[in-house]
């Protein structure tokens, strides 16, 4: 029942297929690749993947006591909607724990640098591993790759020690110098996210950057371009789709992270992200989970916007640019 509402009916796709028959190379290829069975299978997968989230969405609009006594599908026979859960989550502010908006800002201010910093560093490093020949390059790359498996949990305490020793004096000095910057800052969270993202980012970007045809880079070098120029003028534009896709994933991971925030953010409204606040809203014994249903959707909005915003990059194809060059 829900599938009708949220996915296009099979007919539409079939109609599209028959309409596309004929002109254009891409159109012809498409016709041959798409069979009714494939379309049907795609729709089945899409429905299966959507139902759980859809159920949660409906639940988040249902009165708290109904959520735990009847299934969400009973909504269709007995529609009762309330915005109380969202009201709870969005506007239950007070002096010590303000409304959600402030945490939203924090989440953004953590996630944006937490995405940009590792991406810049990783794309530089990936370029070095892929296109700068030096002794031990292979070994070093394997080491970086293997670092992916160092469990986050095991790195928390040593990193916190380092931050307390090195970063805290600096942060306090900054606060003394510019009083309206709190001494509880985002810096440790950014650095932590950057560090934890680097191995995977270098590994993924290396894979794409190393597939850029060697002739393109050789040609640039013959023309006398330095590594910096090659990186900015050739590698970066060509790797943009890969960088954009990784940016989406990294943004999601940072946005949804709770563990790193628990350790490295202060937990106060100064720096705590949305996830930390939502975990608190759930209550110390996890009893208020009707709030969690609404909270989950509040925090879902931004990642989806990012996905839509960056999608055009990888729809173009990861290697579309290099194929032309």
């Amino acid at each position: 029942m829900s599938s009708v509402a949220i996915t296009p009916q099979p007919k539409t796709s079939e109609a599209a297929v028959s309409a596309a028959a004929g002109v254009g190379r891409a159109e012809r290829v498409k016709r041959r690749l798409t069979s009714p069975w494939a379309t049907a299978a795609a729709i089945v997968i899409a429905v299966l993947w959507t139902i759980p989230t859809f159920g949660l969405l409906l639940s988040s609009f249902r009165p708290a006591e109904q959520i735990s006594t009847s299934g969400w599908w009973t909504f269709f026979s007995d529609p009762q909607l309330t915005l109380a859960n969202y009201g709870d989550v969005l506007f239950s502010g007070s002096a010590s724990s303000p409304q959600l908006g402030e945490y939203f800002v924090n989440s953004l201010l953590i996630a944006i640098p937490g995405t940009i910093l590792p991406l810049v560093l990783a794309s530089l490093a990936a370029y070095a591993f892929a296109w700068v020949k030096f002794k031990g390059s292979g070994t070093l790359f394997v080491v970086v790759f293997a670092l992916q498996i160092v469990p986050l949990q095991m790195a928390l305490i040593p990193l916190l020690q380092l931050f307390v020793t090195f970063l805290q004096p600096f942060q306090n000095a900054l606060h003394d110098a510019v009083p309206f910057i709190s001494e509880r800052q985002f810096l440790p969270v950014w650095i932590a996210h950057t560090i934890f993202a680097l191995p995977l980012a270098i590994f993924l970007l290396h894979n794409f950057i190393s597939e850029i045809p060697g002739e393109v880079i050789e040609a640039a070098r013959v023309d006398g371009a330095g590594h910096g120029q090659i990186f900015f003028r050739i590698v970066l534009p060509l790797a943009m789709p890969a960088i954009a896709s990784f940016a989406i994933f990294q943004f999601l991971w940072v946005w949804n992270d709770l563990l790193v925030a628990l350790v490295f953010s202060s937990g106060t409204p100064d720096t705590a992200p949305l996830t930390q606040r939502l975990a608190e809203l759930a209550g110390s014994r996890g009893e208020n989970w009707e709030r969690l249903t609404a909270g989950a959707f509040v925090s879902l909005v931004v990642p989806l916007l990012v996905f839509f915003g960056l999608q055009r990059f990888f729809v173009r194809g990861l290697l579309a640019g290099s194929a032309k060059g």
Binding site: T34, A46, G71, W72, K133, V144, I157, L159, Q161, G226
Partner: protein, 519 residues
């Protein structure tokens, strides 16, 4: 939230990103500098001319003057900040002058002499700082009364090895090429060791532990040495320094050091004393331990396989269809939900009520609809592990689909055209053209999902807390290290996790080498 708070926060991000950008730009400028005689533009004039130096020196003077003038006028210009800025001004002007004098004096000299001279001057500057800072701390220099004992100590521990290393490498500058490289590497490594040794010795004599920073400095010196060694080899690899140093530093501090620490921790008990392989004995004698290991293996086999397969199929099916973006969004959506959110969603799906009551979980509703008995899905081993695995697949398919869909679009249309002209059916076109075309992306996806699967613990923790034979190694590790206060056992489990990943690493290295061989 007051406006000031908001400004403070946004300022942090803006200043932080700007500072990062400036540092990276400077590094890249350094990278593209040219060693030859040809000098152009501002960078060149910086080397030759008076004007840029005068401007820079004036800027430093201005900073110092401004600091002095603003002191007492605006509240945020504290005494400490004023002093720091004035010192910065002096240091800046001195630096500009020194650089000018050296540059002038050394212009006719050979590269070896130049390198040696720069190193010696650097050593002298560090030495001055190392001498001055403790004096400031003891109160002998009023200007430096802000120096803390810790800072003075740090200067001593790190400064002298650095001075030594600079002086010795200056001497080595005149040695023949091959010897010079090796000697420099040795010197830097010795300096790194000296930092650690002197820190350890000093730590023994005082109550307050020095902490981990000497290790960080030692690591930095070591990295500088190794990278310098590599970069010295031929001119082409020099830029690597710029490209790798930031990442290498962060990784060493944030991951290599914790990894080493974990490896040591695995052989200690909770008081930190060495206890041999006790932790591993504990692990393999616990009745649940084998179940935990077996579960982990099931997870790491099923999740990557199924989510990649489904993601690939979906990507192929919807490729170039109308509404592709919308379709993608549907399967991508679980990726955008946090693990905790996913846990709630699926608890809903699996919820159980007695047969005589209304079901609130969809799965049990369907079971009863078809006349079955409602099941305790999260409780009935071994099916409950499968139920948890489904959650992970549900999340990771979006990742596989997104990456693979992009890869499919990268397969040249001409090749598919050619194959279909040869009479290949859709399946043949897929397996002969598309699949080989996206092979490397497939490897990446499977690898990434495998590693993510091994590390995942949120799902298990929120849905069953590892009860009912569903625990996995990562969950057990968290429980032991943070809840039960047994960091040694947690570390031992982390080592086991590492062993489980080793095959994946080895396979990827092989693929990597094959690619290198082709290129």
């Amino acid at each position: 939230m007051t406006t000031m708070d908001l400004i403070g926060k946004v300022l942090q991000a803006v200043v932080g990103l700007a500072a990062f950008g400036v540092v990276m730009a400077l590094l890249l400028a350094f990278l593209d500098r040219e060693d030859g005689a040809e000098r152009k533009g501002f960078v060149a004039s910086l080397r030759d001319g008076w004007r840029p130096r005068a401007i820079i020196a004036a800027a430093f003077v201005l900073i110092a003057v401004l600091a002095r003038v603003l002191y007492g006028v605006v509240p945020w210009m504290t005494q400490q900040l004023t002093n720091t800025l004035i010192l910065l001004g002096i240091a800046g002007v001195v630096g500009v002058v020194l650089q000018l004098l050296l540059d002038r004096a050394l212009q006719p000299a050979s590269p070896a002499v130049r390198s040696a001279a720069y190193r010696l001057v650097g050593a002298a500057l560090v030495a001055v700082a190392v001498v001055l800072l403790p004096m400031g701390e003891s109160g002998a220099l009023p200007m430096l009364d802000w120096v803390t004992p810790a800072l003075a100590q740090a200067a001593t521990i790190v400064g002298w090895p650095l001075v030594g290393a600079l002086v010795v490498t200056a001497g080595v500058a005149f040695a023949p090429n091959g010897v010079r490289r090796s000697l420099r590497l040795v010197v830097w490594l010795v300096a790194a060791a000296a930092v650690v040794v002197s820190a350890t010795v000093l730590e023994g004599g005082q109550e307050q532990p020095i902490g981990v920073w000497p290790w960080a400095f030692a690591a930095a010196l070591g990295i500088a040495g190794v990278l310098g060694f590599l970069a010295d080899h031929d001119d082409d690899s020099k830029p690597m320094l710029v490209f790798l140093i930031p990442a290498a530093l962060l990784l060493t501090v944030g991951l290599v050091y914790p990894a080493v620490r974990t490896a040591i921790l695995a052989f200690t008990d909770k008081t930190g004393t060495f206890n041999g392989v006790d932790n591993f004995v504990w692990m393999f004698t616990q009745p649940e331990a084998l179940v935990t290991l077996a579960n982990t293996v099931v997870w790491v086999v099923l999740v990557p396989l199924l989510s990649t397969a489904i993601g690939l199929a979906y990507a192929v099916f919807i490729d170039k269809s109308r509404g592709e973006r919308f379709y993608k969004m549907l399967v991508f959506m679980p990726m955008a939900i946090s693990f905790v959110g996913a846990g709630i969603i699926w608890k809903f799906m699996y919820a159980y009520r007695g047969p005589e009551q209304d079901q609130i979980g969809l799965i049990n509703q369907l079971i009863t609809l078809f006349g079955g008995q409602p099941q305790q899905i999260l409780q009935n081993s071994p099916w409950n592990t499968l139920a948890l695995i489904i959650v992970m697949i549900w999340i990771q398919t979006g990742f596989a689909m997104t990456v693979l869909s992009a890869a499919i679009k990268g397969v040249p249309v001409e090749q598919i055209e050619a194959a279909s002209l040869d009479g290949a059916n859709p399946w043949q076109r897929f397996s002969n053209v598309t699949l080989p075309g996206i092979r490397s992306s497939l490897v990446v996806v499977v690898t990434t999902i495998s590693i993510a699967t091994l590390k995942v613990f949120d799902i298990v923790r929120t849905m069953t807390a590892g009860n009912f034979n569903t625990s996995v190694v990562a969950n057990e590790m968290y429980t032991q290290a943070f809840r039960s206060g047994e960091p040694g056992r947690g570390a031992a489990l982390a080592l086991v996790l590492f062993l489980l990943v080793l095959p994946i690493v080895v396979y990827n290295i092989r693929v990597l080498n094959q690619q290198k061989a082709i290129r």
